[in-house]
Symmetry: C2
Subunit: 216 residues, 2 copies
C-alpha cells in the first residue's frame, strides 16, 4: 500500500487528471446528445468514461457545471473559424472558404454540432448570453461585409442574414441529421467521397444562388 501510494508520486502531476477530464467531457458530450441535459445521468457518463460516478463530481462539482464545460469546449472549436471572411476578398472565394470550413467542422465534430443544435432547439437555456453577445457581433459584422459586396454589384441582391442562415443550416444539416441523411442514402457512415460530393454540391448551389462562380 505504501508502495502503491508512493508510485503515484512518480507520475507527472496532472497527467491522469488531464486524461480523466478529457474522457469525461468526451463521454458527457455523447450522452447529452443522446438524452438531453436532464435525461442524462452522471452514472452513464461515468460508465462511458470508465470511471466511478463520484469522480465526475470530484472533477466538475455538478452536472450543470459539467454541461457548461462541454458547451464551452464546443464554443472554442466554433470560435476557431470566426475570422474567415474578409471584405477585400472576392465574394466567391471568401464564401467558398467559409462554406468549406463550416462543412469540415460539421464532419469533424458532429457531436459538437448536435449538442449545440439541441441546446438552441430546446430554448437555449444556457447559451442565450452567447447568442446575444458573441454570435450577434459575429453575424452582424459578416452581414455588413456581404452587404458591401452587394452594394459594389459583385453579387446578387440577397438578404445578408438570410444568406448566413442558409449557409449555417445547409452545412449543419449533414452533421445534425446524419441518421436521416444516411438512412435515405442507404449508407452506414459518410465516406470521404460522399463528403467531397456534399461539399461541392452545397458550395455550388449557394454560389449559384448568389449569382457567383469561382474563378478558374
Amino acid at each position: 500500500m505504501n508502495v502503491a501510494s508512493g508510485r503515484r508520486g512518480t507520475y507527472k502531476p496532472g497527467r491522469i487528471r488531464d486524461r480523466n477530464l478529457e474522457s469525461i467531457i468526451y463521454a458527457a458530450e455523447k450522452e447529452f446528445v443522446k438524452n438531453g441535459f436532464r435525461g442524462t445521468t452522471i452514472q452513464t457518463i461515468a460508465d462511458r468514461a470508465g470511471l466511478p460516478k463520484s469522480n465526475v463530481h470530484y472533477y466538475f462539482g455538478s452536472k450543470e457545471k459539467l454541461y457548461l464545460a462541454v458547451l464551452n469546449d464546443i464554443m472554442t472549436i466554433w470560435n476557431e473559424q470566426l475570422g474567415l471572411i474578409d471584405d477585400n476578398d472576392d465574394p466567391a472565394v471568401a464564401l467558398d472558404r467559409f462554406i468549406q470550413e463550416k462543412i469540415r467542422l460539421s464532419f469533424a465534430y458532429p457531436d459538437a454540432s448536435k449538442l449545440f443544435a439541441m441546446e438552441i432547439i430546446s430554448g437555449a437555456p444556457y447559451l442565450r448570453p452567447f447568442l446575444q453577445v458573441e454570435l450577434r457581433k459575429f453575424a452582424s459584422s459578416r452581414a455588413k461585409i456581404i452587404q458591401k459586396w452587394i452594394d459594389k454589384g459583385l453579387m446578387r441582391n440577397v438578404d445578408p442574414m438570410q444568406l448566413i442562415f442558409l449557409i449555417w443550416s445547409s452545412t449543419q444539416h449533414y452533421a445534425d441529421f446524419d441518421v436521416q441523411v444516411l438512412s435515405l442514402m442507404k449508407k452506414q457512415k459518410y465516406s470521404d467521397h460522399m463528403i467531397r460530393d456534399i461539399s461541392r454540391g452545397v458550395r455550388d448551389m449557394i454560389l449559384t444562388g448568389c449569382g457567383l462562380s469561382l474563378p478558374s
Copy 2:
C-alpha cells in the same frame, strides 16, 4: 354527489375525453421539446395540461406511449404535404409550391418541427422505422422527378437528394432555431412581414441555385 355524477351523463360521451387527450398531447409536445424524452416528467405535462398526474397514465398508459402518440400526431401533419410535386409541372412552379408549403408548416407548427429534429439528432430511437420506410419512399420518388427535369434540360444539373436536403434544412432552420434567428434579428417573435420576406428569400435563393426562375 348523485346530482354531480348524474350531470356527467348529460355531457356528450367523449367530449371531455377528447379535450383532455388533446391538451395532454399539446402539453407533452412542448415539454418534450424543452427537456427531451427522458428529461420530461409526467408531472410537468399534467400541470401544463391542468390535469392530475394519473390522468395522463390513465389516458396513455405510459410515458413512452404518450411520446409515440405525440410523434404520430406530428407525422400526420407531415404526411399532409407529401404529395406536392408532380413531374408534369414546371420545375420552378413545383419547387416553389413545395418550398412555400414547407415554410408554412414550419411556422404553423414550430414545436412539431422541433420535436422531430430532436428525435433525429438524438439518434432517432423511435423514428428509425419511419425514416427507413415512408420517408425513404417519399424522398426517392421526389428525387426521381427532379432527375427527370434535369434530364429534360429544364434545370441545372444538381444532385436531387442534395436539393431535397437543402430545402428541408433551410426551411426548418427558421422553426427549429427560432431562438437563434430571432436573437440575431433582435426580434421577440416572427411577424407576418418577416415570414413573407423569409419565404421569398429562401425560394429565390434555391430557384436561382437551380438555374430556375418563376414565370411571371
